[in-house]
Symmetry: C2
Subunit: 252 residues, 2 copies
DNA sequence: CATCGCAACATCTCTAGAGATGTTGTGCGG
DNA sequence: CCGCACAACATCTCTAGAGATGTTGCGATG
């Protein structure tokens, strides 16, 4: 038939619901392969495109992941806990410890690639940093990898004039990182603002994070201020949402 | 043909890219209708299913929204700024002001529906609140609407024993809200933890928030602690990610 | 002038088949 | 015993057509 009696829902939704239930009850465990196009066609007596629609629905929900030529597999979810406040406490970066150390329980989060350039900052960033038309920005682009999987893209902007000739303009910023160096320059960050939002990744982000379709990214925009209230750093981060839980602790 | 020469990308991706470019350059403005299935079939000489795939891609990216029988329209994005820290400052709720007032610039965020029940808390919540097998929880479920659009679902758990007979167990908690009442009970919240993550909505969330496919939700789990470090409230929120930006301010 | 019914048009769902392309394991040859 | 070629199998892409269903605006009717 076609567009048959809508007693409740479409065929592909019924099939998807059945598979979804199987995942939630644990019939199909994370990493396990589940029935593919051909299996569903045979089992439910539907056309290929209909079976595909059912699987596409589950992919869009982020429950499963299709690997071409191999099959459809149940996704896993073991997020990193990222402490928004404590990780930026001075006790952390003041002592030469990586501010990332506190994030992960035993797992291995490392910088995959670093690129430091001097370029013109986007208008919105230039405005925040108080850069004029002529001023340029030091831009630090980094990618972080956990267990071989890229999970975080970070782009950091600072006044080029301020950091020129310091380790901040080098790939390796030394013990304590950028913030320890800023303190040595008399521009210690004392206050932070983080803005969080979420959306679907664009093609570029999708490629850099090797994300499978149907998973959102979280965006964190962090601004660091010194004791004069001047913004000294703007950091834009793109996180694989399936890899992260953000935690913020604060007092009333 | 079929699965033709992959010089670079599939037909449906080329078509999607073209429309995407049109959106980004402003050729198609928010709210405007863009070429539908029939237009794309004619313009590119492809089959209906191929045109549909192109449009499905843009929907999955959250760029457009299809309205059955009407057409495909460009999405808009005007988020609410939610201040994670300041909104819970005592100056806010201590003075009888709604903690929501600071969030929105002139727009109208109101509670759409409130349901207060007494039931058994989920195991994870019971653990945090320190509830035993016998203890029950006061559960406050609310939906918030902005400009007629539902944007936030909130489920709040408190010890039923603690709040029984107080306004907290009523739909209207009075000036200053739940936290002002908790203070009167000698359990003033002094510390908060918020955990943020993001994923695609499930069917129920999708329906309650009237979300169009391809937009993620953000989940906030907030725990409020009193001066003894005891958890007095657990609040699980589901936010339409296209409606919110979360802001957290803190010191090093 | 208001309102209701309907036609035109939009997306949604589905069928049946087929070539392209990526993955995996097996078996043969060195 | 190692390694490579290849067959089997998986998903991906696309065609052409058609009935179902929701939206909208126009025209006829009261």
């Amino acid at each position: 038939m076609s567009g048959r009696s809508r007693e409740r829902q479409a065929k592909y939704q019924r099939i998807a619901a059945e598979l979804r239930a199987g995942i939630e009850t644990g019939e199909y465990e994370p990493g396990q392969r589940l029935p593919g196009e051909n299996d569903l066609m045979a089992a439910h007596g539907v056309a290929r495109m209909t079976a595909r629609q059912a699987l596409a629905l589950l992919q869009a929900e982020g429950l499963v992941e299709a690997r071409k030529g191999a099959g459809v597999f149940v996704r896993d979810f073991k997020p990193i806990r990222r402490l928004g406040v404590e990780r930026l406490a001075r006790a952390q970066w003041g002592s030469g410890r990586s501010i990332w150390a506190a994030d992960i329980g035993g797992r291995d989060l490392v910088v995959d690639s670093v690129a430091v350039t001097e370029e013109e900052a986007p208008a919105a960033v230039a405005e925040i940093l108080g850069l004029g038309e002529e001023d340029r920005a030091c831009v630090r682009r980094r990618r972080f990898v956990l267990d071989g999987e890229p999970v975080l893209l970070s782009v950091s902007y600072l006044s080029a004039e301020l950091v020129r000739g310091t380790p901040i303009a080098q790939p390796d910023t030394g013990p304590g990182g950028t913030y320890a160096r800023l303190e040595e320059l008399g521009r210690r960050p004392v206050r932070f603002r983080e803005e969080v939002r979420s959306r679907m990744p664009n093609a570029e982000e999708s490629a850099h994070l090797r994300m499978s379709s149907g998973m959102p990214v979280m965006l964190i925009g962090r601004t660091a201020f010194d004791d004069q209230g001047r913004a000294v750093e703007v950091n834009e981060m793109v996180l694989d949402a399936s890899a992260y839980v953000l935690e913020y602790n604060f007092e009333a």
